[in-house]
């Protein structure tokens, strides 16, 4: 495993590593109730957001299971930081990664999250040769569930009360897709020409 070829550009986005200067943009959306509802990391005040950002600035390569690559998602037109996406080399099993993402609600409904997710799946399957990539979301988070399904991911698990989340029993969905399923998808060919650093 290595450091990927970055930044990644798609038709409208740039996926790049994080930098300390991203603090304001990050703080703008981390604190929003819509995100706090489903985020499972602490980031309620500026100090916690800075801690999260410091950590993400170091997530630039995958050297061993458990490592994460965290990418800031910018709009190329105006360099606005709209959200983030990450790939974590899942530590329990070989050749598997988890994809996670969070976007500022101000930039929703324009397909940015899906575009970034497709680039991240390309990265995971084509550059890192993962066999399987999965994503988790709360069963009540229909926006995320719809996005994951739209990527061609398959709903593989629906857990009930298998973990406490923010003090309440959760209901969690797992979506997943295999390398051979992603590479066959026509969407991949549409975007492959955009995988240019």
């Amino acid at each position: 495993m290595t450091s990927p070829t970055l930044p990644i550009e798609t038709s409208r986005l740039r996926l790049r590593t994080f930098a300390p200067a991203d603090l304001d943009a990050l703080a703008a959306y981390y604190s929003l109730p819509e995100l706090q509802r489903y985020l499972d990391w602490k980031a309620r005040d500026r100090i916690e957001v800075k801690a999260a950002l410091d950590s993400m600035c170091k997530d630039v390569s995958l050297n061993r299971p458990g490592d994460t690559i965290s990418l800031a998602v910018e709009r190329k037109a105006d360099d606005v930081l709209m959200g983030q996406i990450s790939l974590r080399w899942h530590d329990a099993t070989a050749a598997q990664a988890e994809i996670r993402f969070a976007f500022n609600p101000a930039y929703r409904r324009q397909g940015y999250a899906a575009e970034a997710a497709r680039a991240a799946l390309d990265l995971g399957f084509n550059e890192f040769d993962f066999h399987r990539v999965f994503a988790r979301c709360d069963a009540r988070n229909s926006t995320s569930a719809r996005l994951l399904k739209g990527l061609g991911m398959r709903l593989e698990a629906h857990y009930r009360e298998h973990a406490l989340f923010q003090g309440e029993w959760d209901e969690e969905l797992h979506f997943a897709i295999l390398d051979r399923e992603w590479l066959r998808s026509p969407k991949v060919h549409e975007f492959s020409e955009h995988r240019v650093a």
Binding site: E161, H162, A163
Partner: protein, 190 residues
């Protein structure tokens, strides 16, 4: 505070008891079999591996920390013959999650020993240990195993596709689960 269940546990026809060194032959009898090992993570086991496993199990009679397990021999009460093994693993402390596992000797299949033993183990997990949710996993090709989970009243919560490499082969996995409140509901209605 460790949870040390009162052992042995008696069911109608079975004794669920700690392992002893004398159990190695009986365990080897089924653990060496290809048909038993086919859908398990370890392949068929050698006598030495069985002896080591049994030795470890002698201590596995209480739950003190996350990922501790209680592993019990399942023996017939009338003739003391060892028919299989069952395990309860404390998978998550904060969310009180447990996992059950079991392996039975095919020679004794078809008599309902597996359901009798696993039912007692799940009951121990909920009533004795206070777990919130108990799950079990198997290869989807292992029909006998997931049929047992269904008879226990577990719900299939996951079908993972090619999630694990088992002895060089990408393998699917089923996860079945039951919540304490559903289990109690089952017993209440008989």
């Amino acid at each position: 505070m460790p949870f040390a269940p009162n052992l042995p546990i008696e069911t109608e026809r079975l004794l669920l008891r700690p392992f002893t060194r004398g159990d190695v032959d009986a365990v080897f009898a089924y653990r060496q079999r290809e048909d038993v090992a086919r859908y398990l993570f370890d392949g068929p086991m050698s006598y030495e591996s069985c002896a080591e496993a049994v030795q470890a199990r002698i201590q596995q009679v209480s739950l003190a920390a996350e990922n501790d397990r209680v592993t019990l021999a399942v023996a017939r009460r009338d003739d003391a013959v060892l028919v299989g093994e069952i395990t309860l693993i404390w998978r998550n402390v904060a969310s009180q999650q447990g996992e059950v596992g079991y392996v039975f000797n095919p020679v004794f299949h078809g008599r309902g020993y597996a359901i009798e033993a696993t039912r007692a183990l799940v009951e121990l997990g909920f009533s004795g240990f206070g777990l919130h949710r108990i799950y079990a996993r198997c290869d989807p090709r292992n029909t006998a195993s997931f049929k047992l989970m269904e008879r226990l009243g577990m719900r299939r919560e996951a079908h993972f596709h090619e999630q694990t490499l088992v002895r060089g082969e990408w393998t699917d996995e089923y996860i079945y689960a039951v919540l304490a409140k559903d289990w109690r509901g089952q017993s209440a209605s008989g």
